[in-house]
Amino acid sequence: MSYAADVAALARKDLKVELRTRDTLPAMLLFVLATLVVFHFALPTNAADDAAYGLLWVAIVFTALVGLTRAWVPEHEHGVLDGLVLAPCDRSAIWLGKTLATLAFVAAAQVVALPAFALFFAPLGAPAIAGVLLADVGICAVGSLLAAMAAATRSREVLLPLLLLPLAIPLVVGGVGSAVSSEPSRYLLFLGLYDAVFAVLSWASFEYVVTE
């Protein structure tokens, strides 16, 4: 019970900080919209819808990167992470709180991005939307862990994409597959498995990332 309360308090704190600074979400919204507009003009008019779904996933992954790059900045700029790490609470609660807050930002960006995609390119079916939601969980779970590692370095903007993009490839495969395949359930199952495996790995390894 106290674990859930810790996670909720940490996630609520991130939402409050974002509400006051507006550092992350507006940047994500502008980025995803600008990217879709650029893709709209870059894609030939006779291109297949399948190509557009691929571009949607490029936009989704890079928009999540924008949010993840900033995710741990408040903790590292002011040394707050030291204070959190010394607390007697389970350290994985810090990761889970951050993951949930980041997931909220990514989901908020997609509330704008998905209708914009449908407007510019092609309609999105229920399997495609389910694929996006499942992939969001995976991106945020792995991304929050890797962002914590990258934030401790001086070159976090470079390091995070280098770490995250290879691990995001299965999510892109599953996400595009769920949108274009005649058997989307296979891809959705794959995304669910990815989420479960990587969420558990991230949850278990966070302690070692934030301590020497």
Binding site: R20, P74, G83, L86, A87, C89
Partner: protein, 194 residues
């Protein structure tokens, strides 16, 4: 009780600490002094459990959650108010009756009136006072204080002097300072880093 044996810390090829050994009984007050770059902060971070020594061992009786760390940074969110920061820490550090304790500390450190202001609007001295509130919030057994007087005005220095005098003997304290004379009256042990 703290027992350090042959502590050494290296960052790459650079050796920051070498051969540090000491024992501090419970209730002891260790003053760590030394020039900039002598490794005071590194030693304190090792004692707080934030950094692992490259060599040597350190045994500390106070477990995680029973250590109060005052660092160079106040370790608080600038976009949250003092009250919001302390409430978050109070929850994570399992402080019982935390609202009463937070109110008492904010009163004692002269921040009650500014409790709802964002920390970003605080002066450095106010932020340091808030950092002291955060450090003492969970009534830690071991206080690790890195330059506790930094950024404080005369009133703030007097406040910290009074707090440390009250805590001396009741809590184990390790404090680093450029001015060891200021803490000489409270010190039960001294460690000069070179």
């Amino acid at each position: 009780m703290i027992r350090a044996r042959g502590l050494e810390k290296r960052y790459g090829r650079r050796r920051v600490l070498r051969g540090i050994s000491f024992e501090l009984p419970a209730g002891g007050f260790l003053v760590v002094s030394g020039a900039n770059g002598s490794g005071k902060t590194t030693l304190l971070r090792i004692l707080a459990g934030l950094v692992a020594p490259t060599r040597g061992t350190v045994d500390i009786e106070a477990g995680r959650g029973r250590i109060g760390l005052l660092a160079h940074e106040p370790l608080v969110y600038r976009e949250l108010s003092a009250l919001e920061n302390l409430d978050l820490y109070g929850r994570l550090y399992r402080v019982s009756e935390r609202r009463e304790r937070i109110g008492m500390l904010l009163e004692r450190f002269g921040l009650w009136e500014a409790r709802n202001e964002r920390v970003a609007a605080y002066s450095r001295g106010m932020a340091q006072r808030l950092a002291l509130c955060r450090t003492l919030l969970h009534d830690p057994d071991l206080l690790v204080l890195d330059e506790p007087f930094s950024a404080l005005d005369e009133a703030g220095v007097a406040l910290v002097d009074r707090e440390l005098a009250e805590l001396a003997g009741l809590r184990t304290v390790v404090a680093s300072t450029h001015e060891p004379d200021r803490l000489a009256a409270l010190a039960t042990a001294e460690l000069a880093l070179t």
